[in-house]
Symmetry: C2
Amino acid sequence: MARNLTVAAAQMGPVAKDEPKAAVVDRLVALLREAAGRGSELVVFPELALTTFFPRWFLDDDEMLRYFETEMPGPETKRLFDEAKRLGVGFSLGFAELHTDDDGVTHRYNTQVLVERDGTEVARFRKVHIPGHEGNEEWRPFQHAERHYFEPGPDGFGVWWAFGGLVGMAICNDRRWPETYRVMGLQGVELILIGYNTPLFYAPDPQQDALAGFHNDLVMASGAYQNGTFVVGVAKGGIEEGVESLAQSAIYAPSGQVVARCVTTGDEVAVATIDLDFTRFYKETLFDFDRYRMPEHYRLITERRGAEPPAE
Amino acid sequence: MARNLTVAAAQMGPVAKDEPKAAVVDRLVALLREAAGRGSELVVFPELALTTFFPRWFLDDDEMLRYFETEMPGPETKRLFDEAKRLGVGFSLGFAELHTDDDGVTHRYNTQVLVERDGTEVARFRKVHIPGHEGNEEWRPFQHAERHYFEPGPDGFGVWWAFGGLVGMAICNDRRWPETYRVMGLQGVELILIGYNTPLFYAPDPQQDALAGFHNDLVMASGAYQNGTFVVGVAKGGIEEGVESLAQSAIYAPSGQVVARCVTTGDEVAVATIDLDFTRFYKETLFDFDRYRMPEHYRLITERRGAEPPAE
């Protein structure tokens, strides 16, 4: 019955602003080899893995474009694709995507790609929930201007047959919204791959800072449990350009339990062999959606964007 | 700015099958007085607080009706309402409700009532997610035949102005579904009151049993955090008619932190003074729904009841 898959959370430490992309790809290749050497079939890298987390600055268009990829694989990243194919290892990688659509319109997305063991791209996910702010907010010690850089992904949360199961993706802030997991759960997802960059200092409410690790586990463990799916959450952590970010990368079972965890804040691989059939213990009992869900009472979730209190 | 409210989780230990209702009401009154003596303004009792958890047996219609209330307050429960009014304390109480509608049709609901400090009923919530099974499943050591006894509440998840804020309710299995919290979150809920009876032995998958306390915290803490609301979860725990149920009643802040906890498995009161304005730290920052939610990508949540994997 077992549908075993060996998965790696390939956490990264900081990427400096002036770190050459070739050096970053060297690190990715090293993590890939380490994971492959430990039997991994699928290696998950963080959000915006190729560069520093540039939304901490408010840059003009010329400056920002150096952080975006116009093709994937591109000249620098082809080496990662080639090495993965050579090793027979699949991977998922986050990057800033400059995409020109069929009408010649250019879009900037916060993107994560899923690549099969033969080197072919299975799917491309574009972050749906863009956090932070649009303008330059000078009162902050550093910016979180993701809404300046990225438009929301237009395709929502897909699920794809790959790696012997049903795989979905989400990026960073997406993981805080239960709808993210549920939309994939309603497509039968068994494994969700999530990259993140999470500054420990949250300027709008610093009393949340000490809870960053707790909240990180809370949302991914509950998303896993409530949808009977594995979740792999992978950080770019450590102190990058003076800003400290959460590490704590982990692999969560459908029970909500952590089955593997990174313990440093740097480049580190955490590996787990997971049985995708274990998802059934939740999908076919307590969370048998077809038997127990009550969508007729969920309508506000799609009818309403903001909260509207009843009349007093 | 503080909108302080002192809330009590009034946990109950077992209620035996042959325990007279008057004796149960004695216990409720004792808990109410204990909570009032510690400054509580709102006391939350468990699901089906007046009787043993009868869905563990498969009873015929005549037998089951002794567990249902045809009026609230009724002859035995009036004493609780009177004492609460005398003390100036509000409360929320779970009970099995036999309701005859305007067309003369009789309905059986798993119900929780919210009563203000002046003794008036503010709201009545009827459990939406009915777990367990419809028939008598003889392979089980005990039944969980809630679907034999109760129809789902027809009114969904409302939110009411009461106790100086916006209050909602849910019952037991409702707490495991993120939609429960979200539908109330979209009405601005600040305090959700949840009674439960949760057997520690889960016949369809006993490997979940040791995780019962973890899952209980996971779903209520994430529901609180992701909606910026306080949650009060109150058990009927301990070993009742040979079946052990989870206790672990707790009050959760919008941070997901536990601010008060029962530590026994018997009749016990846990009290916390909560500031309903603390909800703003989450509702107006990270979880500013109107700014950040993306309902156009949530449509499957209401369009679909069961999971439908994509074509292979």
